[in-house]
Symmetry: C2
Subunit: 346 residues, 2 copies
Amino acid sequence: MSEDLNQRSQNILEAIVKDYISSAEPVGSRAISRKHALNLSPATVRNVMADLEEMGFLCSPHTSAGRVPTSKGFHYYIDSLLEVRDLSDSEKARLTSSYQFKGMRLEDALQEVGRVLSGISSYTGLVMAPRFSSTVFRQIEFLRLSHKRLLVIFVSKTGLVQNKVIESDVDWTPHQLENITNYLNQTLHGLTIQEIRNQLSDEIQQERARASELQQQAMKLSQAALNAEVEDNVYVSGTTRILEQPEFSSPELIKKIFQTLESKQQLIELLDQAQTADGVQIFIGSQSQHHAIEGCSLISSPFSGKKGAIGTLGVIGPMRMDYSQVIPIVDFTAQLVSRVLERESE
Amino acid sequence: MSEDLNQRSQNILEAIVKDYISSAEPVGSRAISRKHALNLSPATVRNVMADLEEMGFLCSPHTSAGRVPTSKGFHYYIDSLLEVRDLSDSEKARLTSSYQFKGMRLEDALQEVGRVLSGISSYTGLVMAPRFSSTVFRQIEFLRLSHKRLLVIFVSKTGLVQNKVIESDVDWTPHQLENITNYLNQTLHGLTIQEIRNQLSDEIQQERARASELQQQAMKLSQAALNAEVEDNVYVSGTTRILEQPEFSSPELIKKIFQTLESKQQLIELLDQAQTADGVQIFIGSQSQHHAIEGCSLISSPFSGKKGAIGTLGVIGPMRMDYSQVIPIVDFTAQLVSRVLERESE
DNA sequence: GTTAGCACTCGATGGTGATGAGTGCTAACA
DNA sequence: TGTTAGCACTCATCACCATCGAGTGCTAAC
């Protein structure tokens, strides 16, 4: 945020944002001058408000309504005015005990994280499982579905199971497949899918001359098995919770939001952006090119296991979200999930 | 439907339902008497309408609006008045060519079916994958996650991959696991999970005395692996399409419907009911105890592979659905999917 | 049994005026 | 020069009211 605001303007902006967060309604100068101990008359507040509107932090739905913070206003509030308190130990304990991961598949555990996030924040919970390309290889199995059609099953170090169907030029015998399987399971252990891909294409180029026909085919097979993108998993929970918010009362708006939430692709793009940085990221309104979540904010944080198996989790809610509460929850949850992932992947 | 209606009443009921389906608005006596070549004056139509209302086939939102069919009215219409035409060959061809299943995993294929169903019907598509207990065993793999925690992976004959984590009392060696795996893969081939469960519990009881400690443990392990219920998969597509319908304009109603669509459990119960009978089933409004889809209708049909691996697919839309179009589509799609399933599972 | 006629109901539409929250502007004040 | 009181103005909201018209129920005549 480039602009500087003097202390009084900051106080008033903060007061407006806070009032708006709790009321969901435009706030007027009187309310500010009375409730918040600023000792300023409504008229003074009005002057400041006019300035803030000029600068783009506020806007008014119409002449005689109060002011509503713009996404720029929220942004300034979060960057400069909001002090995010840490969770108390008891809150941390409560959050920790919400999760009973033991004996769960990773998929189910992540889904559960989404549910809990949605439950405690009262907004919509989002969890994106670690991208396939960044997961660490543990085991591969081939299964002959018919001649030339193979089902490939991978298991990642964290216990994520992915499968897909590939077509092969060669009609492999069970014995050949077993050999290939053993070879791959030995060689690839502990590498990420991305590393494996790079390595494979290198090897194929280098060994083209030396390798036998069969070996070359085997390499091609494993390349095919690992190359094609497997759909990344996004878990969305509590979509209807977002409807409780008064600002989402118009059917058109509801439709837009649900279309976004239904399209995994859009969510993946959104969460991918959040994944690049460390720690909690906040996307406000349409600020992020993503007109998709106009009027909404996304608070998200990446989580990771030992070897860069990165996923993202977060909460989508109205722009008017209770940031001071949701931010530490998302933050701590990401740490919690990271810790569990590290423990499990040993 | 027990009641009998004379020809004229039937004609008028049919006219009202048809008008209401296309307009989504209460229909009055005048419109009926004019548009449909019944040669009856509005007054006569009114008399009949009053009778129909008395009998529960119609209701009026208020005194001076027209009449709207009740769920009983729709029911009568579908049972006695609607003649469902078969799809023309070109329509069948078009539908068939919408699907490109080859090289797809079963999960993806079913998801795709939902998408297409939703697309051509303009309502919400629903597909429930074959229940785990009725799928035919093809292969099982065990993977040691940590001491005593095992990841079990099943593959069904149709290529459906399921996995889950189980805890075992014994810390198996890789060699032991391999033996168990081989044994199970040989013995269980071609049986449904349900058959396997029955067989296993029989064997455990019978062989308790004779078998060695290790054998008993192995049996227990496989029982644990196959007993616990794996979540059944429901694919929902085009949820937002239902919002296009004029009757779903109130936020409360939208919320209710989306809550139902979000809760897989409720959908499974609903689709399970539809699965018991052969062919297309129709649930109208809240008629089916399921207040969950009040105001909606569900048109569904089971599909199956060679050996009773039964799933269900269908369409959820407003009560005022275009039944004459959707019913044959659902019917034919179910046949199509069954055919593909049978071909694939050989 | 059918229909024309008619009084009646009731939602939808649109105009009017009062209300009140909130603003911008100006002039006075410290 | 910054702050404030005062005041005219704007505009959404609401209640009220008259009008309109689609549609009904009832009755009497055909």
